[in-house]
Amino acid sequence: MEKNTGCPFSNLSPNLGITCFIAFITVILVRVLYVIYWTGKPLNKRSPQQTLSTLIVLGSGGHTAEMINLLLVLQKDRFTPRFYIAAATDNMSLQKARVLENSWADSQSGVERISAEFMQIYRSREVGQSYVTSVWTTLVATAHALWLMIKIRPQVVLCNGPGTCIPLCVIAFIFKVIGIRWSSIFYVESIARVKKLSLSGLLLYKLQIADQFFVQWPQLQRKYPRAHYVGCLIFVNKSCVSESIKAQQADTDIVQTQDQLPNIRT
């Protein structure tokens, strides 16, 4: 009987709960769709003096070399402060970034200190690790990535694989959905990928997490039309090129013929 007296309210409350839940999910979904809709749409014009905090995710070996080549041509006064993140097992990459930052600091008169921070991140799974223990390490790695991202809240994320960048990019995307920070995510697929995207690249492309997706081979661009073909990122400075070409003409058996690589010519 008591149940009946409270009838209007108690009958309503589960409905209300379900309604609230549905409303909440709808809001989230609409927001996710909104974020995906705006992903890849260029941002409004801004003044050249404006600075953007930039997260640079360093892969390893060849990935890091390609990223350094990109950083060399980016305007360091616009992309500042810079935060470098590399896997905890990779000591070389941060070292290379430090050398680069130091060379910039030296070339400046010292009036304006360049702001750069270097961090390491746990990897969710090392090569050969068992799947049972990797559940725990993945949790730890995700929590660590979240902590770093809350601290940095970058406006620009630059990455070029491999897997280290995935949790950071996903968190950056979630920050967009929740409204913590609207960041622009740029992904450059490695030169080593000629016919197929890497797993990280494929995820960021298919899930529409990357705002701009760059590939270094034309056949990949044909396969993934939203990607931009940018040619080979690796370069040496011009005097070096001409010198090596001169040396090559005198020194080796190679003869200069029509270049067939569809590169951007300087």
């Binding site: 760059f214 090559q248 270049d259």
Partner: protein, 178 residues
């Protein structure tokens, strides 16, 4: 051959590099008598092997008796110098080694490691071989590649640059063009 500089010194070095990897199959095959004979026949005088983390030790030789002089080391901070002084480079398929060699304009044979599970690296070597920037081989076919290679037919590689990516990033973020 137009090898005036090397000709004066009388040295034509073949430099073999496996980078930071372990690639005994490559070290073993370049150390085989068959490959050494072929290199000698093609006019090379020295074989220098950077063997990385591999465990197979090649046999050293001074080359005094008219054979190929063979030397090896594990790692070196001056790989670039070795590449520069080489007349032919035989390398593993890592993108770093490949592009460093191509940028120096050195003739290159890339040997793909067949033992690697995720062998996407062969994609790059095969694509560049198709464009005639280098020769691509596997350990069993290296000797054949050396015998059949025509270094004059290789096409010099013109390096790319990252400015296009930088331009697109700047444009996307709304920065004015420079």
């Amino acid at each position: 051959m137009g090898d005036s500089k090397d000709g004066v010194k009388g040295k034509r070095v073949v430099f073999v590099t496996v980078g930071t990897t372990c690639f005994d199959a490559l070290v073993k095959v370049v150390d085989s008598q068959q490959v050494k004979d072929e290199l000698l026949r093609r006019g090379f005088s020295n074989l220098l092997i950077q063997m990385g983390r591999g465990s197979y030790l090649p046999t050293k030789s001074s080359g005094d008796d008219g054979s190929l002089a063979v030397d090896y080391f594990t790692f070196s901070s001056s790989i670039a110098d070795h590449l520069r002084s080489a007349s032919l480079v035989i390398s593993h398929a890592g993108s770093g080694s490949i592009f460093e060699t191509l940028q120096l304009g050195k003739p290159l044979i890339v040997v793909v490691n067949e033992d690697l599970m995720d062998n996407h690296q062969s994609e790059l070597a095969e694509e560049l071989a198709e464009r005639r920037h280098l020769y691509c081989a596997r350990p069993p076919t290296l000797c054949q590649t050396i015998a059949g290679m025509d270094l004059k037919s290789l096409v010099p590689y013109s390096p790319g640059d990252a400015t296009r990516v930088a331009k697109l990033i700047n444009r996307y973020l709304g920065f004015p063009e420079e």
